[in-house]
Amino acid sequence: MITHHLPVLLILAPLLGAILAALSRNGFAAWLIALVASALTAAIAVALLWRVQAEGVISYRLGGWAPELGIEYRVDAVNALIVLLVGVVALVTMIFARRSVLAEIIPERVAWFYTMMLLCIAGLLGMAVTGDAFNAFVFLEISSLSTYTLIALGRDRRALVAAYQYLIVGTIGATFYVIGVGLIYLVTGTLNLGLIVERLGAIESSRALIVAEAFIVAGIGLKLALFPLHAWLPNAYAYAPSSASVLLASTATKVAVYLLARFLFTVFGGDVGPGGIPIGAILIVLSVAAMFLASAAAVFQNDVKRILAFSSVGQIGYITLGLALVNPTGLTGGLLHLFNHALMKGAAFMAIGAIVLRAGTAKLDELSGIGRVMPWTVAALTVAGLGLIGVPGTSGFVSKYYLILGALEAGHGWLAILIVASSFIAVLYVGRFVEVMWFREPAQAARESREAPLEMLLPMWVLAGATIWFGLDAEGPAALARAAANALLKVAP
């Protein structure tokens, strides 16, 4: 009986956890609640993936209403992958968070911090499992509003500006999305994604759909930091509390990518949208721009968090490139990179969080020689950095390999060359912090710090270890990504 309720339990675990954490008003109790809630979430996510693999698509009707009237949760191979990612990252982040939060958050606000983390997780999972376009908007708002609060809780006063900037941009994005959904509702008379697809064939004029696609792609593009719409991201990641950065960098943009993929492939029909909009070609141009320009911007940053943030914008370029290729191999590469990038960016932001805890700064020029006193932490950061470059033996290599194959399959040999060429920019920014942290004489901050506590190293190395593991034995995640890509493209496996 309980397996029947899995899709909604996935949302209820973090949501109830958030309520209890808020009611507890005690920092440690709130952390414990958050830990249990996210452990439950991860377990439910695994069970859900298991059930999807055994039985295929799972549908759950909220309140028992039929999809025409009510909200349907629909889990298939695509969102099972996303849900697994969010669940696992949520769990390791909570283990990591305790020490970092004690150092960075005012004690009276610790319980609220965990409340917001759990609400954000609930919102992201909701966006992933729902099969209802408007319900996705509601969950998008839940996750966004809690994200604004999380960023504003940062110790630095600039966090407030960063949160405000993201609030304005994020609200515009959400509004665009809901305008697009409204237009789709206008022509199809339903909000359920499955029913929208069924009724699209009967539409005579595609004008409303063209506008809807423009609004939805731009709106979700803002949330996922698609290249020219990424200006909010570097500040938000840099000034948010370290553990919030970990969660946001590895899940928030990824769920937005999922939503974009869902709309592009199931509603708007792949690389050429309604009315002949060449959406695939547009995405390819923007993705390549992100891969080069955002990565180049990362080279010139001094704050390590900002380096990683700009690198995120660049790496999202690879993911959207995978979507834009619209063939099974390329899409597998994109989804695999989504998964792998989340793990390595999580590890990298955890390492920076540990360095901020011990050395009190994330500025590169003050961190010279930190690797000699915090070898395990900086080693994890280095592994993540190698993954970002795509060095063979890390998971980043596998996903870029799939992307290159996909580009060749699509007949774009030049894209394959650009993928390799842009990886060399990653060598520059990763090489910069590796050189400073390992090979320079220890500076003041480094001499006064020591290795991070075990409870932070452990989750950090789970993610860094996964980066190596999935680089050597990629079959597990690659099979999941392939199943997801086939489900999106409706190709029989």
Partner: protein, 139 residues
């Protein structure tokens, strides 16, 4: 505004009808326009009006900040709790059919209880926003 007799006396007259009207809107939500959200805003407006005239301190004596911090998540807890009650009775989440002896009454009860949760959360959130703005000091 301690000395402004007109404002203080009119406010005093308005408070009780405001709260009563909030309750009317709350319970009328089943049959017509209204419901927890609107009622919560109206009831919060009564407290905010009291605060505007008499100051933040007296308003916080009526609705202390600690109470708000319980009511905000408490309202959501009621909502979720009703949904889970449906699950325990063998239906899907938020299905109220088995909350009473037949499905019509079950739905009525479900919506009624859920709206109380909505009322509490909206009421307390509105006041919390007012407190946050009114309590801000220039640093």
């Amino acid at each position: 505004m301690r000395l402004d007799v007109v404002l203080r006396v009119t406010t005093k007259f308005m408070l009780a009808p405001l709260l009563l009207f909030a309750l009317y809107v709350q319970f009328h939500g089943d049959y017509g326009p209204g419901g927890g959200f609107q009622a919560g805003v109206i009831a919060a407006a009564a407290i905010i009006l009291y605060g505007l005239i008499n100051g933040l301190g007296p308003a916080q004596k009526i609705v202390p900040v600690g109470l708000l911090e319980v009511l905000i998540p408490g309202g959501v807890l009621i909502y979720v709790g009703v949904g889970i009650a449906g699950m325990l009775l063998g239906d899907n989440f938020l299905d109220y059919n088995h909350l009473a002896h037949d499905s019509v009454h079950g739905q009525e009860w479900g919506v009624f209880l859920v709206e109380i949760g909505v009322f509490l959360t909206v009421f307390s959130t509105m006041i919390a926003i007012y407190y946050a703005f009114a309590g801000r000091r220039r640093s």
